[in-house]
Symmetry: C2
Subunit: 397 residues, 2 copies
């Protein structure tokens, strides 16, 4: 049987990270390639208690069909949560529960983009989102990143040169893969450019609550008065990714279309998972839990950076995240990054090559991504030592 797949999907490959992760199950492998929360960050006891209580008291609601918009009490709790924490929520806004922020991103792309339209994104950016955009056969235009976010001149040039630009995709906090945070000035400027060229901003904030240093920067959505920003949030990093619960807050007209698309996609998000999240938000010390996770990641990030400073060749540049799960290391020009990553895997340390995150994957990169949330302290020390030795071997003075 020879299948003739759709144009939009035919060229789409599985994520490179996914392929790398296959190696990481080998015994003895130290993986800095994943993006998993630390297992010790899961509130296991709370989930156990909450789930038992839901199934004892309200089993039919947890098992029966539900509405596509999401569990009403969870929507209400989230409206209150994002208003309090992020000053998000205008009278014209609405909120839908989705199956992880990934679905929020995919459905936003589906309702807004025709094939051949342009989507602007940070370069590098999160491969899962880039693949979701690619799956609608759109043109991805990467805008170079600086330590404080997009290069604004490049953003405006890209908007000018791509008249079919419909969306700008941003991860303003502790970006994946770079770990950097967009400054308030750049957030304001990006919104102005979006107005000028009449495109929508898709703001993805999975890591926002994981700030372990520095001051919170306002969400772009909180600066937006006209409904130009679609905001995606998630329980994956603050509760548990396996539950697959995220949300989208946007102008009600956009949410209305996303709801229709969601109905076509999976009818609604697993209702038991939604009920667990609601109870976690409304009757559990979620603020205390988040502070605890922040301390775990602060410690791991600090440990990794400390070891890197001791072990890496000094010409390797690293970003210094104030939160999130990742940092990006960049080898000096002339070093073979792919060769570095391959040799690292041979020595049982997995990292993700930077070109995987490029809008155009064939574009070269001299960076690689390091995750500090998943490995243990011992793995961080051992793995960074191995990578450090490799940097010293491969980088010519």
């Amino acid at each position: 049987m020879n299948f003739c797949f759709s144009d939009k999907i035919d060229g789409l490959k599985p994520s490179v990270i996914r392929e790398i992760l296959k190696f990481t199950s080998e015994p003895g492998m130290i993986s800095f390639a994943a993006g998993n929360p630390a297992p010790e960050a899961f509130p296991i006891r709370a989930v156990e208690e909450i789930t038992a209580d839901i199934l004892a008291k309200d089993p039919i609601s947890a098992l029966q069909y539900s509405v596509s918009e999401g569990y009403p009490r969870l929507r209400e709790a989230l409206r209150e949560w994002i208003a309090r924490r992020y000053s998000i929520g205008q009278p014209h806004d609405d909120l839908i529960i989705v199956s992880g922020a990934q679905q929020g991103i995919e459905l936003s792309a589906k309702v807004l983009l025709n094939e051949g339209d342009t989507l602007l994104c940070e370069n590098p950016s999160f491969i899962g989102s880039l693949n979701a955009f690619r799956s609608y056969h759109v043109h991805l235009e990467g805008v170079p990143m600086e330590e404080d976010g997009l290069n604004l001149e490049a953003l405006e040039r890209a908007a000018r040169e791509n008249p079919r630009t419909k969306l700008l995709y941003l991860i303003p906090n502790f970006q994946n893969p770079s770990g950097t945070t967009m400054s308030l000035e750049k957030r304001r400027a990006a919104l102005e450019i979006a107005k000028k060229y009449n495109f929508i901003i898709l703001e993805d904030n999975p890591y926002g609550d994981l700030r372990f240093e520095g001051e919170t920067v306002p969400a772009i959505k909180s600066l937006d008065t006209e409904g130009r920003v679609i905001y995606c949030g998630s329980f994956s990093k603050i509760l548990a990714p396996g539950l697959r619960v995220g949300y989208v807050c946007a102008h009600r007209d956009a949410i209305s279309k996303i709801t229709v698309a969601k109905q076509c996609s999976d009818v609604h998000t697993t209702i038991l998972a939604q009920m667990i999240c609601e109870r976690f938000l409304s009757s559990y010390d979620i603020e205390g839990h988040i502070r605890r996770i922040q301390q775990i990641y602060k410690h791991k990030c600090g440990l990794m950076i400390g070891e890197i400073e001791k072990q890496f060749h000094p010409s390797v540049h690293i970003t210094r995240p104030q939160g999130g799960l990742f940092l990006l290391a960049t080898l000096p020009q002339g070093t073979d990054m792919m060769g570095f990553c391959q040799e690292a895997v041979r020595r049982h340390v997995a990292v993700v090559p930077g070109n995987a995150f490029n809008a155009d994957e064939s574009q070269p990169s001299s960076s690689f991504r390091l995750n500090f949330s998943t490995p243990t302290d011992q793995q961080i020390v051992e793995g960074i030592e191995i990578l450090g030795r490799l940097t010293r071997e491969m980088i010519c003075e």
Copy 2:
């Protein structure tokens, strides 16, 4: 803010059923409009025990990220299950877990259909699937239904006249909305026509296990040796729809593309829900549970048909399902079906007008769908009495 939505989504409306269901929450309303399993069919105690055990013994697996293909033990259990019950599974086949069969259908459409391609379907057919197809801007060509499935001449004509036909969508068992079952001869013939015109068959079997009368008819997938049939199954009707767990079994090349699309869509299906389904399949008397549900639905269907025979005007035709959740009633020519449905709602009985299920919704219909799984016995008796009186008032002798 004026949004410019994608062509594929711009014209898509929420499901008519969904709109009708909004009325059904009014006090005193008897709803034959839903498609929910009977609440008494949920194995509540088993789900409670299984879930507690999973969260006590393997909480990290239930909460952490998982693979897009699905929980390996569930995939294994399902391969065995569909082989035993349906003789499905060729060496070239693979299986993926999806977030309800709805997602299997949506992803199959996404990986196979370009905008403007033709999809053939039974007319009438399940609105949730039709909307998923519409959300990819394809041409839906409805093929008239008979009591034993598609009209084969019309099917061949439609294939001949639509050279861009890529897919034929079928619900062979206890079809939604008609309740009828496709004969073995027609299943074989449809497969031959698919070969001749080189299109794929998407076989949707959510109700197959709910047979309460007559002999099982082999799945089309079990007749297919070359990998031309994509088969979708679900836990929604035998366990619980709120869990959102379904599966797709198809040629590995198709599953491979569906997996990439799934990764873009929601990364993976809620892993706790997958683990519950696996345990339900492998360590619970699922066959006994299914026999129990079959008896519930046999009783309810029999009760509804008995009441219809007593109450409806004799010129109303009804289908006589051997399983599933629905039957279709057809008013005699010249009766105003939409007027009938509207007046029924005014008298506090909700049914779904037949044109909602047409490939072209503007096409008239003289049918309406009745669901017998959700209402109580008393509601069936009372609701059918009200509808019966209305048929006698509206149908001119």
